[in-house]
Symmetry: C2
Subunit: 387 residues, 2 copies
Amino acid sequence: MKNFNYYIPTRIFFGPGSIKELSQTKLPGNKALIVISAGQSMKKFGYLQRVQDLLKTNNCESVVFDKILPNPVKSHVMEGADLARRENCDFIVGLGGGSSIDTAKSIALMVKNPGDYWDYIHGGSGQGKLYKEAVLPVVAITTTAGTGTEADPWTVITNEEKQEKIGFGGDDFFPVFSIVDPELMLSIPPELTAFQGFDAFFHAAEGYIAKIATPISDAYALQSMALIAEYLPKAIKNGKDLEARTQIALANTLSGMVESTSSCTSEHSMEHALSAYHPSLPHGAGLIMLSESYFRHFSSVCPERLIKMAKTMGKEGETADDFISALLKLQNDCGVAGLKMSDYGIQKSEIHKIAENAHHTMGGLYDMDRQTLSHQDTVDIITAAFK
Amino acid sequence: MKNFNYYIPTRIFFGPGSIKELSQTKLPGNKALIVISAGQSMKKFGYLQRVQDLLKTNNCESVVFDKILPNPVKSHVMEGADLARRENCDFIVGLGGGSSIDTAKSIALMVKNPGDYWDYIHGGSGQGKLYKEAVLPVVAITTTAGTGTEADPWTVITNEEKQEKIGFGGDDFFPVFSIVDPELMLSIPPELTAFQGFDAFFHAAEGYIAKIATPISDAYALQSMALIAEYLPKAIKNGKDLEARTQIALANTLSGMVESTSSCTSEHSMEHALSAYHPSLPHGAGLIMLSESYFRHFSSVCPERLIKMAKTMGKEGETADDFISALLKLQNDCGVAGLKMSDYGIQKSEIHKIAENAHHTMGGLYDMDRQTLSHQDTVDIITAAFK
């Protein structure tokens, strides 16, 4: 066994109705910038109003920043930080999916630190500077079950000018506390439920085959995949099934804990490159498209790991192929087996460029693979995945 | 699934050689009170000197308090707090087994809070007062694999005048960081290795059948029991087997995380009562003696949980009895199948008194059982365990 450090200081309030903790728990400040998406759901379903009311009950003022896109962009990080500064906000609330919570984390960095967000980014055209001023405290309230960002110290932002989608983070970026209330997830449409659920699944699966996996991250990952295999089809079939939503919410939080204790691998680099060029491609959909050929590549590298993943998904699990079958069956049961890159405007002629972008912008995740992939390996995986 | 809160803010440095983190990591103060046992091992094996040297390298002074008994007592909490106050120590290092680390936590409470330690204790003759002053930061360096206290916010101290052995703790008692270095565990004699390993095992097993268990605590518990079933006999057979020691150290840390996310059950109340009257009885030995009749009692209450425990221990796991067989086999493989209460001076005539003490001093853990035990149930379990 390898040495490891374990650190997940975030307090997680989990379960139906746990949103009410917002009115009872000690808050990390007196005025919150609430970061939400540009879509209507946070307002339409009353979640924003509820959060504002609960904060008010807890003697906390708030300001809303409501511009976040599904693939969140750097310009909104800068704009949100400006607003927080002008309004004297002393902590940031990310309310919504991974895009809002990740943007909240990135805004938290930029409120007190000078310059441009990309000054601090490692990879791509990022300057890799060290930040010197404090990162504001972040509270995460997740209304989707996909990124696990409520339980990890990472944020992924796209530099829209450079077409670079890059992760960033560290100890200072763990939310002070997170609220995972499945009642806020009952309104997610089936297709998004599937994409987000698979994102969580691949955080767990990649974290399980990553070379820095530990027995603790393994425990989270196997539990997460078991729950997704059992409950994701149910949550897609009936979005009001609170038990299924709750189990998937838990699987997602567990997959965030995998992110905190292990790592994603190069599958994520490839997907980030795909959606950096094609922002309309949902992250989870990109991962689903890549997954069969990606995990097939690793089936000879760490077959024993794929067998264990097959078992946790309820398969017999005698060969690595059993995992591929379980994965394809789950995609089928979730109605996402027929996704095609070409439907999102991706062209076969782009594959070399996409593979280069994956290495260039998120090469770090390639170091997490148990066997290092070459540029040609990446091209081959994406080519095999292309439909 | 029930709602739950998850919070384990302790940073854990895990693995052979991780003790060196003490010279590199940011410390929570400038002068440490190092709490160690009254035995010779911390000095004889050079661990104390190493810790002092590493702290010094990290510009930190230290003072040693070396009186802790295997069942740590209240008078040493008070004496250690006095010493820390006189010496202006601003954090406490617990170096050793659970007794030293637990005492470190309790001392951390009493350095700035007035009165007697038992003023703050709930249960028994404790006054249940709220403390108002800060608890000093604690660093845990574990040299045994038994209590998991390095990853939980709990401490167990005996009031030697009242013959009450009671747990206490909460969020303020999580170590700031813990070092789990299996190289410091190579010198533990076989019998202690067994007793401590079983203590860890029962933290996991009780936490798994506790009614507040969550899927996260389940993941820790099953992983912990799997590791103990596989590696404890090896660590006992060859104490220098670093891989076995490492796996058992991890199992122990995982069982501490079970303590932080679920709870012990009344088996622990019963054992605390046994060793409150018979301080020479090692805690792990007491648990081993109680375990067969205790888990037999619960085999009809939550058979599906016992079956899963049997499976994680490598058994087929078709009935709850398979867990009892796996438990007895593990005791046999570890050379502790023949332990007798009578060998430690416990008499059958004491059982009523012991059962009363268990309810009186640690009744709270009875609330964690899936089926509430009566006084007579407790008497029956201890009677069935008596040899």
